[in-house]
């Protein structure tokens, strides 16, 4: 298996995640699609690390995982705060900053 195969799979997963972010209305599902995009990028990093025979790509994928975990924690806390005041998890409802 050449690294190109893995990178192609990463591209497909990334595009699916991006379409999910654009299409879905539930904020939880939007978060999950962002996680899918981050995972796809990690797969590309690991493939490139193998292609170059060095471990730098794996280290960067590790940092991406750490940042993703922090992002999920804060994002879900924001989502719960919004749900507590608006009783809704839809991304259409919080529009107070629009005008």
């Amino acid at each position: 298996m050449s690294p190109g195969h893995y990178v192609a799979l990463a591209v497909i997963l990334f595009v699916i995640g991006a379409v999910g972010v654009l299409v879905r209305r539930n904020a939880m599902v939007v978060f999950m699609c962002v996680e899918l995009m981050l995972n796809a990028v990690n797969l590309a990093f690991v493939a490139f690390a193998r292609m170059h025979g060095s471990l730098d790509g794996q280290v960067i994928a590790f940092f991406v995982m750490v940042v993703a975990a922090a992002e999920v924690v804060v994002g879900l806390a924001i989502l719960m705060a919004i749900f507590r005041t608006r009783q809704s998890a839809s991304v259409d409802d919080p529009n107070l900053l629009k005008y």
């Binding site: 298996m1 050449s2 690294p3 195969h5 893995y6 990178v7 192609a8 799979l9 591209v11 497909i12 997963l13 595009v15 699916i16 991006a18 379409v19 999910g20 654009l22 299409v23 879905r24 209305r25 539930n26 939880m28 599902v29 978060f31 999950m32 699609c33 996680e35 899918l36 995972n39 990690n42 797969l43 690390a49 193998r50 292609m51 170059h52 025979g53 471990l55 730098d56 794996q58 280290v59 590790f62 940092f63 995982m65 750490v66 940042v67 993703a68 975990a69 922090a70 992002e71 999920v72 924690v73 804060v74 879900l76 806390a77 989502l79 719960m80 705060a81 998890a89 839809s90 259409d92």
Partner: protein
């Protein structure tokens, strides 16, 4: 078929096994990801995302990254997805995604944008010179972990330290955001007991299934006169059954000889929302029970 050619060209067994695993896992991951953006329920999305993440963990292990594979399983599938599931349970399992398009033509535009993105990225990768895997690139076992540790604590030591600040900030932010200021005094046991006496129902709510034909949680208990106890079924379950199109809860009366109301419906789900109230009313108006009553009496 290019895939067949690749498979045939794989000379030794290890690379054949790797390509078999890759094609199986790639199909599984892409199918689960597609299902994730297509299913309306957020819980199903979480389960499908877990499948994608586990497939990716195996793909990491195949590419000589055992440390990342384990971190993927432990941190992503174990911690992050469980956090997602906890928040889903708090936000409410009955909160399904609305299928109404608020912006006109948004889904079509998103699909076109996705296809354009796929074409663009494919062209970029097709033009890039992706060589074969470097010899000795796969560092399995202790070499992998030692190598990653050496890199993290030498070349990447500053980003590693910054990560610590990021994690502390994230933990503090989550605590601040999830904290709720108590605006009323905390109810004591004494005040709760007084409230219960004042409310007119000092006893706890009846459990589901008592004296009914079976004791499932969606089977209402029967009162001494054979009528169903509406309070014995959780309104969430009643609403969910209505939402699934089963026409409310069918109540089989234990007293067959009474001949009155062999099946009734609980309309507690009507308090969940306007849409479910409409559906509940429609299923009641349909009257699926009238025929049963006629045949039995």
């Amino acid at each position: 078929m290019i895939h067949g050619g690749v498979l045939a060209a794989a000379s030794h067994a290890a690379s054949a096994a790797e390509s078999t695993a890759f094609w199986v896992l790639a199909v599984v991951a892409v199918a689960a990801a597609l299902g994730m953006i297509l299913t309306p329920r957020a819980v199903h999305c979480a389960v499908l995302l877990a499948i994608v993440m586990l497939s990716l963990a195996v793909l990491y292990a195949l590419q000589g990254a055992p440390f990342l594979a384990f971190v993927q399983v432990i941190v992503y599938t174990g911690a992050v997805l469980m956090l997602f599931l906890f928040v889903l349970m708090i936000v409410g399992v009955s909160a399904a995604d609305s299928l109404v398009e608020t912006i006109k033509g948004q889904r079509m535009a998103a699909g076109v944008a996705g296809i354009g993105m796929l074409v663009l990225l494919s062209l970029v990768i097709g033009h890039a010179a992706l060589g074969p895997a470097a010899a000795g690139g796969a560092k399995y076992g202790a070499t992998n972990i030692n190598g990653i540790a050496a890199l993290i604590f030498t070349r990447y030591v500053f980003p590693f330290e910054v990560t610590a600040a990021l994690l502390i900030t994230a933990a503090l932010g989550a605590m601040v955001l999830a904290h709720r200021e108590r605006t009323s005094p905390k109810p004591t046991q004494r005040s709760l007991s007084r409230l219960r006496m004042v409310s007119g129902r000092p006893a706890p709510l009846p459990g589901p299934g008592t004296y009914a034909r079976h004791n499932a949680v969606d089977m209402p208990a029967l009162l001494p006169d054979g009528s169903p106890a509406r309070l014995s079924v959780s309104p969430v379950i009643a609403a969910r059954r209505t939402e699934l199109g089963r026409g409310g809860i069918q109540i089989e009366s234990a007293s067959q000889g009474a001949g009155q109301g062999t099946s009734q419906q609980i309309s507690e789900g009507a308090s969940q929302g306007p849409g479910q109230a409409v559906r509940q009313g429609a299923s009641q108006g349909k009257g699926p029970d009238a025929g049963q009553e006629d045949t039995r009496s």
